[in-house]
């Protein structure tokens, strides 16, 4: 038996009140591109859908001092249409342009993508490499700021409690970094990532700082912190990059599934990483 209810809160406060009232049955409904397939396939049977898609507190792409702030209900299509994102966060823009297809992008939201917690979440990879912070709120816990790198817990699991809503996502655009994003899937459109990777490098005489984020290569989207640390202060040399790719492979834990075997994903990661770094260097 399917037992769903639908509530349309007038504002954020009411949304939080509903969420707290219905606790484990509460589901914030944004674009519903995950929720409806889950209802259709019987994964989700009992829920109170709290419609947050029109809440103004959750919309808009703004510049706030040194930060860019995205409402959680921003759609992937809105990211692509935003001059701020195109010019100041090209790594996020690139990932948006590779997300699903233009039709799904009109509904899919950034907040929904993070909250769903898929290991292959395509918005998480560019946002991780930008070291984004997630701003969340609930009646019980008030407002919390969570670094995205601590947000994911396991496949489909995040640190969010059931009544906690993502308000906004904030990051510094890091104009002194050069970035590269790549998503590898079975076809160009509408493919779930077999692997995705974003690299950011701040280059002086040597590598001043490196950031690496990976999707679909571990139970959660993650930052390769040990590889980043290894690269910091190192000159750009083939042997260094080879060594870095070895460390990188030890930081991930890919599974074998219908899209590719574990061994394939490991080899792929090495190739994508080296390709990413070479691309960044050629941008100089």
């Amino acid at each position: 038996m399917i037992n769903c209810e639908y509530l349309k809160p007038v504002d954020l406060q009411e949304a939080l009140k509903f969420a707290s009232q219905f606790a484990d049955r509460a589901r914030f409904a944004a674009g519903c591109t995950n929720i409806l397939p889950d209802i259709h396939t019987g994964k989700l049977r009992d829920c109170v859908l709290i419609d947050i898609s029109d809440l103004k507190e959750l919309t808009g792409i703004n510049r706030e001092d040194d930060f860019i702030s995205l409402g959680s209900a921003t759609t992937v299509a809105e990211l692509l249409n935003s001059e701020i994102i195109r010019n100041e966060a090209p790594v996020l823009w690139e990932a948006a342009s590779r997300f699903a297809d233009p039709v799904v992008r009109n509904r899919a939201t950034v907040g929904g993508n993070l909250a769903y917690g898929s290991p292959a979440s395509d918005m998480s990879v560019p946002l991780l490499v930008l070291d984004a912070t997630v701003l969340v709120q609930s009646m019980e816990k008030g407002i919390r700021e969570i670094p995205l790198r601590n947000f994911f817990v396991g496949p489909g699991k995040t640190v969010l409690s059931p009544s906690e809503v993502i308000l906004r996502i904030k990051f510094e655009p890091l104009s002194d970094f050069k970035f590269y994003y790549t998503k590898f899937g079975k076809r160009n459109a509408m493919a779930i990532s077999i692997a995705s990777l974003a690299v950011g490098i701040k280059l002086g005489k040597a590598i001043e700082e490196a950031r690496i984020a990976l999707g679909a290569l571990a139970p959660i989207p993650l930052r390769a912190l040990r590889t980043e640390e290894f690269l910091t202060g190192k000159p750009v040399q083939t042997e260094i990059l080879e060594k870095a790719s070895e460390i990188l492979l030890s930081e991930i834990n890919p599974i074998s599934d219908i899209r590719g075997s574990k061994e394939y994903r490991l080899e792929l990661t090495r190739a994508l990483f080296l390709r990413a770094v070479n691309n960044i260097l050629s941008l100089k």
């Binding site: 399917i2 037992n3 769903c4 209810e5 639908y6 349309k8 409904a29 674009g31 519903c32 591109t33 929720i35 409806l36 397939p37 209802i39 259709h40 396939t41 859908l49 419609d51 898609s53 299509a77 699903a100 297809d101 233009p102 039709v103 799904v104 009109n106 509904r107 160009n188 459109a189 509408m190």
Partner: protein, 158 residues
């Protein structure tokens, strides 16, 4: 389950309806309004057969929660032409044999319509990208792309 009251415009006609909380816009169109031009292929957002316009943007109607269509303006393939007159896209699809079984055609037409609303003069690359989420198991796509190109040309003349 308690029903939800919604008001929406479909193909320029206003409707007031009561829908289930978990109903999809696709079901509203086909079952409540008997607009069966919009097709259900996969039911999970993958095939594009159910594509319609909401406020001018293409969406998969199987991925739209019916209560969220409240206050929106929907256009389906039935609203593409005007009465007996086919839309230039429909004319071009016929001319180029851009379908065989026709199951993907409503989705293709609506995705193409959304494209031409945003980019009246699309390149072949634009067309391929915008239609990439609509799957056709019959034509091999080339005829469809040719048809969209020609429709864009025709529409520039009017």
């Amino acid at each position: 389950m308690e029903k939800v009251k919604i008001k929406l415009t479909v193909n320029a006609r206003e409707y007031e309806l009561e829908v289930y909380p978990n109903q999809r816009l696709l079901d509203v169109l086909r079952e409540n309004l008997h607009l069966t031009g919009t097709k259900e292929g996969c039911g999970i957002g993958e095939c594009g057969a159910c594509t319609v316009l909401i406020n001018g943007d293409a969406v998969n109607s199987c991925l739209v929660l019916a209560p969220q269509a409240d206050g929106k303006e929907v256009v389906t393939v039935e609203g593409l032409g005007q009465g007996e007159n086919l839309h230039p896209l429909q004319e071009a699809f016929i001319k180029h044999f851009a379908f065989q079984c026709g199951f993907c055609t409503p989705g293709m037409l609506m995705a193409a319509k959304a494209l031409l609303l945003k980019i009246p003069d699309p390149t072949e690359e634009d067309i391929r990208k915008w239609l990439s989420g609509v799957l056709c198991r019959c034509t091999g796509y080339q005829q469809i792309i040719d048809a969209v190109k020609e429709a864009a040309e025709e529409m520039k003349k009017c």
